[in-house]
């Protein structure tokens, strides 16, 4: 076997410490606040307005998006209050969260077949897919699931930003061996991006189901009892991640193979009681929505 020299990677602890001291950690408090607002049924529009208004760049971005063709509002929206009234409380919350998380994907970075913008598109596709699964299949709003799915590949961003050379080696090996990301990560670093994401989410004190879903997004959580309510977010993110990669929303070109096989994916679908065709229809809708965002020039910041 050909031996290749690899760049040294950071230990998991060092990577988390570096990420915690970087601008990446600025999204932690925002996600925390958004989750608190979404989780509290008594939360007021004023709370949301105040949260957005203390961050002027976020405020102007939310207004720009609220006025875009995507929402199709015929009048000018000039304040966060108006945005809440015209496009809805939940839509504004979701928008604020997407814009804040999207900020870390703003600068394009390409290495091997990997692209940061493609990772953002993948994260957004998984988030939309999870939201639709919750709304259409479970008849639940799925407020937390959107945030969870948006952040599920946070570990990749941390690896790519804080150990760029080791990350380039990782992508090169994944592409040349047509291997999944976690498999080579385990070999090279001794941990996976899912583990990094989970540690970061725990560091930000995000809810336990959220950190569990980030941890298990590549592989269904077998440790949890089947059908248990707490395994639902993790299973949903996992199947959405798989379905989105299969639909072409991958951070790499050519797409890297997913960790789970088709059989496991079908098992997870059965556990969630989602017909395969239903998920295919949801994926078609996600593709349409992302296409519309791209056409309107609103997919990337």
């Amino acid at each position: 076997m050909k031996k290749t020299k690899h760049h040294a990677s950071l230990s998991l602890e060092s990577l988390i410490s570096k990420a915690a001291l970087s601008p990446l950690s600025s999204i932690g408090p925002v996600v925390h606040k958004v989750m608190a607002i979404l989780r509290n049924p008594a939360s007021s529009a004023t709370e949301l307005k105040e949260m957005i208004e203390v961050d002027p760049p976020l405020c102007s971005q939310v207004l720009r998006r609220a006025n875009s063709a995507y929402y199709g509002i015929r009048r000018d929206i000039s304040s966060i209050q108006e945005a809440i009234v015209f496009i809805g409380f939940n839509a504004v919350t979701e928008l604020a969260l997407s814009l804040k998380v999207g900020k870390i994907f703003e600068q394009e970075h390409k290495v091997g077949g990997y692209s940061r913008k493609a990772l953002w598109k993948h994260s957004l596709a998984v988030a939309l897919c999870c939201k639709y699964i919750y709304r259409r299949e479970f008849r639940e709003r799925g407020d937390d699931i959107y945030s969870t799915a948006l952040l599920h590949d946070l570990g990749i961003i941390a690896e790519e930003q804080f150990m760029p050379n080791a990350f380039a080696d990782l992508i090169e090996r994944c592409v040349s061996e047509n291997a999944s990301l976690p498999k080579i990560e385990e070999e090279l670093f001794g941990y996976t991006h899912a583990g990094v994401g989970q540690r970061l989410a725990s560091h930000w004190r995000l809810p336990a189901e959220m950190t569990a879903a980030i941890m298990h997004h590549e592989k269904p959580p077998s440790i949890l009892p089947p059908g248990a309510k707490q395994s639902r977010p993790a299973l949903t993110v996992c199947i959405a991640n798989y379905a989105c990669i299969r639909a072409g929303f991958s951070c790499c070109e050519p797409p890297l193979p997913p960790v789970i096989e088709e059989g496991k994916y079908e098992e997870a679908l059965a556990q969630l009681q989602i017909p395969k065709r239903a998920l295919e229809l949801i994926i078609t809708e996600v593709q349409g929505e992302l296409k519309q965002l791209q056409e309107n020039g609103e997919l990337y910041l």
């Binding site: 007021s44 529009a45 004023t46 307005k49 209050q81 809440i84 009234v85 809805g88 409380f89 939940n90 709304r135 259409r136 299949e137 479970f138 008849r139 639940e140 709003r141 017909p275 065709r277 239903a278 229809l281 949801i282």
Partner: protein, 81 residues
């Protein structure tokens, strides 16, 4: 016979698909209605806040207006003397 069976299977598949779409739309409609009700309440909340702010500003305007009148009168009195 084979062709008919194929047609039947195709129809069956379409029916199943339409049933899924119908269920999805029903669930979405239910949630959208709930959200719209909640948004209406949030709208009222914002309206109350704006009305309160208007009342505060109106009060401030009144106070300032009174002050201006009083100053004017004082100045007019001073000139007469």
């Amino acid at each position: 016979m084979k062709g008919k069976r194929k047609e039947l299977n195709e129809d069956q598949r379409k029916i199943e698909e339409l049933e899924i779409i119908c269920r999805h739309l029903e669930n979405d409609l239910f949630l959208t209605r709930t959200e719209n009700r909640e948004n209406a309440l949030k709208y009222l909340e914002l309206l109350t806040e704006l009305n309160m702010k208007n009342a505060e500003l109106e009060f401030l305007r009144q106070v300032l207006s009174n002050k201006v009148s009083a100053e004017k009168q004082e100045n007019a009195g001073g000139t007469e003397c």
